[in-house]
């Protein structure tokens, strides 16, 4: 059985303050910070043994046993074209299991994902020209500017998972 690094379900409920905040799970892809809203994350775990699945594109790393549920694990760096396709996962990685209405899918990341609370106002809509320029940009919710001037690219998992072509499966 997999060891849970952190379980969002046990996280604190966002306090209803004057300033609305958003809790993100933040991870790195090709050196940049990406975030997913915590309510779209089912759990973060050390990636268990991945069974390679024939007949799937290279960025699908295979399937894992997540507490009895079998889910697919994908490498977003490859999917977004940030690195060449077909790279094996490192011996030690983490899986962010994200949830949509229809299914759960695992995002394999190399470093420990971390939770972060930011002001909702900090998320700016992605610039228009970014929206249709590439794979990654189509799944953006916006870009969060932090006080230290660093940015987090906030992904909208519902867009990512709704798009059936994300997997571009045969048949």
């Amino acid at each position: 059985m997999v060891d849970s690094v952190l379980r969002p379900a046990g996280g604190k409920v966002a306090p209803g303050g004057p300033e609305a905040t958003v809790q993100l799970i933040v991870f790195q892809l090709a050196g940049e910070d990406y975030g997913v809203r915590i309510e779209q994350v089912r759990e973060v775990t050390v990636t268990p043994e991945v069974a390679r699945m024939p007949k799937t594109p290279a960025f699908i790393k295979g399937i894992i046993n997540l507490r009895g549920d079998i889910i697919a694990v994908i490498d977003l760096e490859e999917r977004f074209g940030l690195v060449p396709a077909g790279r094996p996962l490192p011996a030690h990685s983490y899986t962010v299991a994200v949830e949509a209405a229809e299914y759960t899918i695992g995002l394999a990341v190399r470093d420990v994902p971390r939770p972060m609370r930011i002001s909702a106002a900090a998320i700016e809509a992605a610039p228009e020209f970014l929206q249709d320029s590439g794979q990654r940009e189509r799944y953006l919710e916006g870009i969060a500017k932090l006080p230290d001037n660093s940015v987090i690219i906030v992904l909208d998992m519902r867009k990512l998972l709704m798009a059936s072509e994300i997997l571009r499966l045969p048949n």
């Binding site: 043994e49 699945m53 007949k55």
Partner: protein, 550 residues
Amino acid sequence: MNAREQEYRELFMAEALEYYDGMGRHLSVLERSPTDVPALNELFRLMHNLKSNARAMGHAAIGEVAHSLETIFGLIREQQRAFAGALVPVVFTGLDELGTMIRAVGASQPLPDAAVLLENLARVARGEEPVQPAAAVPTAPDTPSEEDTRKLELSDLVYIQVRKLDKLLNLVGELVIDRDRLLTLAEEIGHPALQATARHLFRISDDLQYSVMDVRLVGVGVLLNKFPRVVRDVAAAEGKEAELTLSGQDVQIDRNVLQMITDGLLHLVRNGVSHGLETPDQREAAGKPRVGQLRLSALTERDDVLIEVADDGPGIDTEAVRRKAVERGLTTAALAAGLDEQAVWAFLFEPGFSTAAQVTDISGRGVGLDVVKRALDSLGGQLRISSVRGQGTSFTLVLPTSIAVKGALLVELDGRPYAVPLLHTDTVLALRPEEFSVAAGLLLAHVQGQAVPVVPLRDLLHAEGSEPLPTADKTQLHGPQQVLVVNYNNRRLGLLVDQFIRQQSIVIKPLSKPLDTIDLFGGVTLLGSGQVCLVLDVPALTRLFVARRA
């Protein structure tokens, strides 16, 4: 009383008490608003159901009372009588009396005499005043004696969603797999107390598994009993004369298995009448009785349930099917010529074949039979066909009793395990390269006097796009080759694998979205170690091979 009668009685009791409760509720509504149409409709419906059930079970007295009450509700609905005056207490008394009678059935006691009640019901139905004794009842509804007889009933049966049973069965399946693993470990470690505990766990989980499976079993009769009507209707529409014989209604099968083959069986039976039987005149000319015989029977064979649909019609015209299969592009003329009749008949269940409407006129078979095959494939079942020209045809569905736990052979390819359901495995072979032959770009193994095409499983799993598979090359084979011969739709196919691991029971989990579109995999299973193992779908592999062979 045997177990089945007991079960029927319990079912009758559960339904009767439910109807009784429901009618009590609706009657209270009617008392407040005597013209409430939905309440009247429900009362009429429930009373009608109760009447039918009671008569079917031989409880004529309950049927009589229910019939009289149904009549009265009908009259009120048609506004010929009003739910008012003396009629009200008589109806309430009637319902109370029904409750008493139902309870008497449950307690195996004689039913109370209902003559006075029936007389009163008949009188109010005619719009007359009831005779005295019944009228006395509502005047003293709160007397202690009345209070004693009025009981609150809870049914002895619970209704449960099949979905919940599915979950339970899956969990038990996984428990059983872990149990096997534990038993093996206990033997390896050799600790006596641990071994004893593991064996105890083995027995308990075995009982648990069978209990859960038992809960899901229903008699095949619940489906078969629907067919006399189907046969009558189709025969009438087609100008045929057919007699249907049912047998084996008591054979037990998993409810979901039965559900999944319902459509397929319907097609087979309809086909059996409309194409499997000749017209009365044709039959007479062929020296057969005018009335065609159709047999629908179920029986148990080891862990499988066989359901057979047999007719005494003209049999399958094998040559017509062979020609049609070539015309339909399902095979080539050269290949078709060499196929035995079993392999030819298998075409009847191909989707491409079934749409050929005119085939039914020539061969007497064909429309929609691919639904049968699809249902069997998803269940891991098999189809057996036998047919003799002029004497008849029989189709036998070989179904698993239960769907959760399946026997499978684990094979290894590129360091990963794959499971192949035993239902589709034929034999395993270790062959030296020189024992293979190559013909038309295909690698062939010779199994029991039959040439079986062999393909590396690796090639099938990694075939991209729609390119043909690489041409077979014997020189690529080095050392002994492990061949798993699978069988689907009477076609054998050899798969080259790295090695055979072992045979074991597996619980198949469906692949979740979005991977469920890859049809080569029937699902996944978790091995005792927690390792994920893909389950190969032999029908899909066979289809892929046929479509892509070099």
